[in-house]
């Protein structure tokens, strides 16, 4: 961990998964912020300006796609890299997310945590 550590914002409402993700990213040297809802997530994002956002789709109240749309309307938010990490892999959702602008769409059960980190590192160069 150092000052130049990349900041990752995790938006995930399943506590177990959020813990696992959070632990993994911290262990991998990232600075992690966490949100359990889209509303809290966008607030944190706009406040702390993370280097990358890992976003779930199915969230209480506002869903991840709606949050993504709002984020993209912000001057800073329109260019922050976002990777969708969701178990909902409906092609419609995938397409919609891709259209709005995300780096990737990962299905949680189909990826290893190590692969997620690897993907994030690739995006952040």
């Amino acid at each position: 961990m150092n000052d130049s550590a990349k900041k990752v914002l995790l938006i995930e409402d399943e506590k177990v998964l959020l813990e696992l993700l959070s632990g993994k990213f911290k262990d991998s040297g990232f600075e992690v912020s966490r949100a359990e809802s889209a509303e809290a997530g966008i607030k944190l994002a706009l406040q702390y300006h993370p280097d990358l956002i890992l976003l779930d789709i199915i969230l209480p109240k506002m869903d991840g796609i709606t949050m993504l749309k709002k984020l993209r309307q912000d001057q800073w938010g329109k260019s922050v890299p976002v990777i969708i990490l969701s178990n909902l892999d409906d092609q419609k959702k995938v397409s919609e997310a891709m259209r709005i602008g995300v780096y990737d769409f990962l299905v949680k059960s189909n990826v290893k945590l190590a692969d997620v980190v690897k993907q994030v590192r690739e995006v952040l160069g």
């Binding site: 632990g23 199915i58 909902l88 419609k92 949680k108 059960s109 290893k112 190590a114």
Partner: protein, 713 residues
């Protein structure tokens, strides 16, 4: 009635005055008989300013005639000198030129008559004596001449007295003479008597003339004339009938005429005839009569009874008119009318049928003009929109209801399907939500088709399908998929990631513990694969498996799949061989489908091939098709199982206990291949491996379009 001016004094006591145009005769025995009548006859003529012409005979010569006149008529010389009286022998008149010629003599009389009028006489009084006749031929000719005089005398100011010698006439000749004159004078018991009633003759003449006129008229109008006795039997000839039917008089007389009446019409003819006789009333009937040429013609027959003074019918007279032409026109008119009626009926039936069809449609249908004005709608529309037809007819579709999207955002007029139909002439459709006051939004699948007439869009027909149920089903699908993907995957993810973490930090674990961890991890992965297969199979069944239509290079996808399977290929020391044609270039297709097909078939090949075996992939292409061939040297597929391996959950006997699997993989890719219009086949012998051959069409545009139009909610 004759006017007094036209009455001429004959000078003969028993006759008195007669009108111009009187033709009478006298039978004489002696010269005195002749002088008794002719002298006063001409005297009266001279006194009444008539030209008098006396043609004498050998019986009473010109000389004798003149002498008698001179004796009895004062101023005769003056009359004679003035030319008011001409007396000359028959040889200078009837026999001029040597023989009797009727036409010449008649002409000469006309000339005399005209000359008299020119000279200022009121008319001409003549007398002739056919005493010169001594043979039958001349007698017949003269009789004909007399008859001819009767025909024409009315037109002239003529009084004609013919004198016949009783000695020269036999009985028949006397009858001829009398019949050719209006009346005859004959001496009976020393006194002159009139032996034929002049009035009767005149009446006969009038009748004859009238009949002649009637017949001329009939002929002019192409009618047939007939008369019958009171019983309807023909007694008199009917030349017009004969001419028309070709019957002879012998054939038509009595009831013979009915022989040419159409047999089918006879009963009706008899019935009407009997009725007419019974009520003594004119009748009219149409019936068919066989013409001379054998063709039946329609005749309009009219008959009127002629009564005796006693009120008894004396005879029937009537006419027939050929109305075949009219009848034909009538028939044609009737046929035409019948056709029209039939047509009208069929149009009505067609209309009713179309209407019934229109009403029976389970969807709402609205017909509009090009401005969106509602022209017609069916019952179902009423129930969908909650309208009453009469309230919306003629109103604008855009005013009557609003459409919205799924989120409730009102669809602008320009984006409504009817606008596409009317402005572009193309069929527009899509899912819209009907906004109804106080009612939850109703999802409608709307199709708007332009009505094109002579190349111009004149309106549109919209079909509204209430897809509430479909939407409900779609929601249920979504819920299931949400459950399967999110609810099942989330705990699996948690387990998988936890084990991953444990594995990374497993230094303190015993071998047994590590083994257990591997087992848990493998089973979790298996569970994840089952879930994934279940999701794909479900999507295939719902027809909602999403395809990514994009520029795709099957070779690159094959390499990705091989990369994914690299570990397993290496672990099992499988010799993998990829053969691809040089012409494998990117083309637009379902990239994820190609991946799924290759991944499934190659992972199966690796799975069922023993360590050290061979797996091969061959990719080739023609103009229209892509061929994928996956071969392995694995355990093979029993013959009996080969037809069943693409069925859902089917697992062949030789694999089901030894190999992990859901029994869904081949089912899923078979579904995908079918969806793409392709085909998958298998060739295998147990123990000698298997070959799966996939053929996929390169052109998916049609399918792609169809897919894009699929209703996704």
């Amino acid at each position: 009635m004759e006017s007094k001016d036209n009455l001429r004094q004959t000078g003969i006591e028993v006759i008195g005055a007669v009108p111009w145009g009187t033709h009478f005769c006298q039978f004489y025995a002696t010269k005195q008989d002749l002088l008794d009548t002719l002298v006063p006859y001409f005297k009266a003529g001279l006194e009444n300013n008539e030209l008098c012409v006396w043609v004498t005979s050998e019986f009473l010569t010109t000389k004798e005639a003149k002498l008698s006149m001179q004796k009895k008529v004062p101023g005769f010389s003056k009359y004679f000198k003035n030319g008011q009286i001409e007396i000359f022998p028959h040889t200078e008149w009837y026999l001029e030129g040597g023989k009797f010629e009727m036409k010449r003599v008649l002409n000469d009389w006309v000339k005399k008559h005209d000359k008299a009028l020119e000279m200022g006489f009121t008319g001409t009084r003549v007398s002739g004596n056919p005493f010169w006749i001594d043979n039958k031929k001349d007698w017949d000719d003269f009789a004909a001449y007399e008859a001819e005089i009767n025909k024409v005398i009315d037109q002239y100011k003529l009084v004609v007295l013919c004198t016949y010698s009783l000695e020269k006439c036999d009985f028949n000749e006397i009858v001829d003479v009398i019949s050719n004159h209006e009346f005859a004078l004959i001496k009976r018991k020393g006194k002159w008597a009139n032996i034929e009633s002049a009035s009767h003759y005149k009446m006969e003449e009038a009748l004859r003339k009238s009949e002649s006129r009637y017949r001329s008229y009939i002929e002019l109008t192409d009618q047939l004339a007939w008369t019958t006795n009171e019983k309807g039997e023909v007694e008199e000839d009917s030349p017009t009938w004969r001419k028309f039917t070709g019957q002879t008089y012998e054939q038509l007389k009595g009831t013979g005429w009915s022989k040419v009446v159409h047999p089918d019409d006879i009963p009706r003819v008899i019935k009407i005839w009997n009725k007419a006789v019974a009520i003594k009333h004119p009748y009219e009937i149409e019936y068919r009569v066989r013409r001379f040429d054998g063709i039946f013609r329609y005749l309009l027959v009219r008959g009127v009874p002629v009564f005796k003074e006693t009120g008894v019918i004396r005879e029937w007279i009537g006419t027939c008119i050929d109305i075949t032409g009219r009848k034909k026109s009538e028939t044609q008119l009737a046929e035409h009318a019948a056709q029209l009626e039939a047509l009208n009926k069929s149009v009505q039936e067609e209309f009713v049928r179309k209407r019934a069809l229109f009403e029976s449609i389970g969807d709402g249908v609205i017909a509009m003009d090009k401005h969106g004005k509602i022209m017609d709608l069916n019952k179902k529309t009423e129930s969908i929109f909650g309208w009453k037809t009469e309230d919306v007819l003629g109103k604008s579709l855009f005013e009557e209801f609003k459409l919205a999207d799924e989120q409730g955002k009102i669809t602008p007029k320009s984006l409504r399907p009817i606008q596409l139909a009317i402005t572009t002439g193309q069929v527009g459709h899509g899912i819209y939500f009907l906004v109804r006051k106080g009612v939850e939004r109703v999802p409608l699948f709307i199709t708007s088709a332009p009505v094109v007439l002579d190349g111009k869009v004149v309106g549109a027909v919209n079909v509204y399908r209430d897809v509430s149920q479909q939407v409900a089903i779609d929601r249920a699908k979504d819920e299931f998929l949400y459950f399967a993907s999110h609810t099942l995957r989330t705990p699996l993810s948690a387990v998988a990631w936890s084990i991953e973490g444990l594995n990374e930090d497993s230094n303190g674990f015993s071998t047994e513990q590590k083994k257990s961890l591997d087992l848990i991890y493998d089973q979790t992965q298996r569970m994840i694969r089952l879930t994934n297969d279940l999701l794909d199979a479900t999507r295939i069944e719902f027809g909602i498996l999403s395809y990514k239509y994009e520029e795709t290079n099957p070779l690159i996808i094959a390499n990705n799949v091989i990369e994914d399977l690299e570990n397993r290929i290496r672990e099992k020391k499988i010799k993998f061989k990829l053969i691809a044609d040089r012409n494998i270039h990117p083309y637009r297709t379902y990239s994820n489908a190609i991946y799924m097909i290759l991944h499934n078939l190659l992972s199966n090949a690796v799975k069922f091939t023993p360590t050290g075996g061979k797996v091969g992939l061959k990719i080739s292409k023609t103009d229209k098709k892509l061929f994928l061939q996956i071969t392995d040297s694995g355990i093979g597929i029993p013959k009996s199982a080969q037809t069943r391996i693409f069925q859902k959950m089917y697992r062949a006997d030789n694999v089901k206990d030894k190999f992990e699997g859901s029994g869904l993989g081949l089912y899923i890719i078979n579904g995908i291949i079918n969806h793409m219009g392709g085909k998958i086949t298998v060739q295998s012998k147990p123990g000698k491996g298997a070959t799966f051959s996939v053929i996929l069409p390169l052109a998916l545009e049609a399918i792609q379009t169809g897919n894009a139009e699929r209703i996704h909610l």
